[in-house]
């Protein structure tokens, strides 16, 4: 039979069976994809539902109180903002500087590989270990008071630095060598080339990585407990050497309160405040990343 009837071959081949297997697999993938989103969505809805009625302008401007109606998050909010602002200030020049050194200046050597492997490993060290390091280094060794803004910022800088370095390295690596050669071939110095070719193209990538690292640092609790930051402060930090509290610490403290108003009102409200900040930071990072890739696509 030269021409096979392609309509009646259903019983002979395995297409039908394979297709069913495919559908089963597809359903599994959809469930896997939904699992994370649905859980996160449920958490968000639950927290927002509980926070409703508690989260208002007064909640932002008031100080903590043992009366739920009067409780607010101004001191820990400002504490977090102050510390994270300093972390950004410290980690950007240090992180970008190390990344530029590793990518643009250092030669391929054992020393460079040693540094790179260590940085990659440091990014995976648990944050409580950084807390211990901060305590041992800044408080015990350098004799700084514990629980102050500066020590908190230094400790969290150590925490985010490996991430900032690695993401800056990635952004710098993404700049094509052709661009570097175009500049150097014209007779520019290495620094001129880095300043005018590498950095302008790498900045969006560097910012994306840094902002995501800072957003993570915003939620860090363990290192701040280790360096002795207060769980509750009634005054906002007013200088580098003043004691402070941070949003996650305050949330931790409130979640321990026995009253139902704290458990199901004040704590969720504070969580929503923290989530809004972190999610908007991530949003800004995504914006930079999209801008970065748009530029790449044009090439």
């Amino acid at each position: 039979m030269a021409v096979k009837d392609i309509a009646s071959g259903a019983a002979e081949d395995n297409i039908r069976k394979e297709r069913i297997k495919g559908i089963v697999f597809q359903v599994f993938c959809v469930i896997a994809a939904l699992f994370g989103i649905v859980s996160l969505g449920a958490l968000l809805i639950y927290v927002i539902y509980e926070a409703a009625g508690w989260l208002d302008l007064e909640f932002i401007t008031n100080t903590p109180s043992r009366f739920a109606e009067k409780a607010g998050v101004r001191p820990p909010l400002l504490g977090s903002a102050f510390v994270i602002g300093l972390v950004a200030l410290f980690s950007l020049p240090l992180g970008v500087g190390s990344a530029i050194y590793l990518e643009e200046y250092s030669k391929q050597s054992f020393f460079r590989r040693f540094i790179e492997i260590n940085i990659a490993n440091l990014a995976g060290v648990p944050s409580i270990v950084y807390g211990l390091l901060g305590l041992g280094l800044f408080v015990s060794t350098f004799g700084m008071p514990h629980g102050i803004v500066l020590v908190g910022a230094f400790t969290l800088t150590l925490r985010v630095l490996p991430i900032v370095i690695v993401s800056s390295q990635e952004a710098i690596k993404a700049v094509p060598d052709l661009q570097r050669h175009a500049s150097l071939g014209l007779g520019t110095t290495r620094w001129q080339m880095i300043r005018t070719v590498v950095l302008p193209e790498a900045v969006p990538g560097i910012l994306t990585g840094t902002i995501i690292a800072l957003a993570n640092a915003m939620g860090e609790t363990a290192p701040l407990i280790m360096i002795g930051a207060a769980t509750t402060m009634f005054t906002s930090p007013h200088g580098l050497f003043s004691s402070f509290s941070a949003m996650p610490l305050q949330i931790y403290a409130w979640s321990d309160f026995p009253q139902s108003e704290f458990q199901h009102g004040v704590t969720p409200a504070a969580i929503v405040v923290l989530l809004i900040i972190i999610l908007s930071m991530n949003g800004i990072a995504v914006y930079f990343r999209n801008k970065f890739y748009q530029k790449k696509r044009q090439k």
């Binding site: 052709l178 014209l186 007779g187």
Partner: protein
């Protein structure tokens, strides 16, 4: 017939010699190493002023390496080593007191892939002058206009100087790169297969441009396209396995090569 052509060429060759061409670059027993691997062996050749010299040869013969020796771009690769001398106007560019950065301001380079910066057309051409300290707006505009005219691109872009250079076509981008290179007034322009990434029409544009450029500049071009070498080159150097197999006027090398290997290569028997 070949005999006849050969005679004519000999005659031409004599006229060239009688003109006493100025030597811009004199390569003297140059050897080059990537780590342990030797890539160039005892090269001796001259680059003449206001002439186009083509370097041809099969892949891996060392032609790009040779080109990158002229502006010391090979210095950027770790573990390379140079022996011998390259004299630029009688000064060895590998002497200790030569700063490769300053050298590259005299010897410009155009790369295989068009590589404009992701900046505006104007900023691309003005890049070099700015880096060398010219910030006067009018002066920069003047330089940009002259350079783009010399690169035969002005008419196509004069109304959109502040648009991104990446909006240009590949051929236009390559002419922009040429404009960027000549904006800093180099003596010599090195071109590393400048048309290999372009379509035939854009290639013709670039070749016509090279012919025009030699009025003001000395051009060295690496190409794997022999027709191109025949069309644009006044002189041609044939490299093989890291050796300079033959170096002569283009007419002589193509019509009456001294070496059998050259004859085999240009007639397409290998490579």
């Amino acid at each position: 017939m070949i005999e006849l052509d050969g005679t004519i060429m000999k005659h031409n060759e004599r006229t060239e010699t009688e003109q006493k061409l100025d030597t811009v670059i004199n390569v003297n027993e140059l050897s080059f190493y990537y780590g342990q691997t030797q890539a160039l062996f005892n090269i001796d050749m001259r680059i003449y002023k206001n002439r186009v010299t083509s370097i041809i040869g099969p892949s891996g013969c060392g032609k790009s390496t040779m080109l990158r020796c002229f502006n010391r771009m090979n210095d950027l690769i770790e573990g390379t080593q140079v022996e011998g001398r390259i004299l630029l106007n009688d000064k060895n560019i590998y002497d200790k007191d030569i700063d490769p950065v300053r050298l590259r301001r005299h010897i410009g380079m155009v790369f295989q892939q068009p590589n404009p910066f992701p900046k505006s057309i104007f900023d691309n051409v003005a890049y070099g002058p700015r880096m060398f300290g010219t910030h006067n707006r009018e002066k920069l505009q003047e330089i940009t206009e002259t350079s783009l005219k010399k690169a035969a691109l002005w008419d196509e872009v004069k109304d959109r100087l502040h648009k991104s250079a990446l909006s240009l076509s590949g051929g236009q981008q390559q002419r922009l790169c040429i404009a960027r290179a000549i904006a800093v007034e180099p003596e010599v322009i090195l071109m590393d297969e400048p048309a290999s990434a372009l379509d035939p029409i854009a290639t013709t544009f670039i070749e016509d441009l090279i012919d025009e450029l030699k009025k003001n500049y000395t051009v060295v071009i690496v190409t794997h396209n022999m027709q191109q070498a025949g069309r644009v080159g006044d002189y041609t150097a044939f490299f093989l396995n890291g050796y300079l197999e033959e170096f002569d006027t283009t007419e002589k090398l193509f019509l009456n090569p001294a070496s059998k290997k050259t004859a085999d290569y240009i007639s397409g028997r290998f490579g």
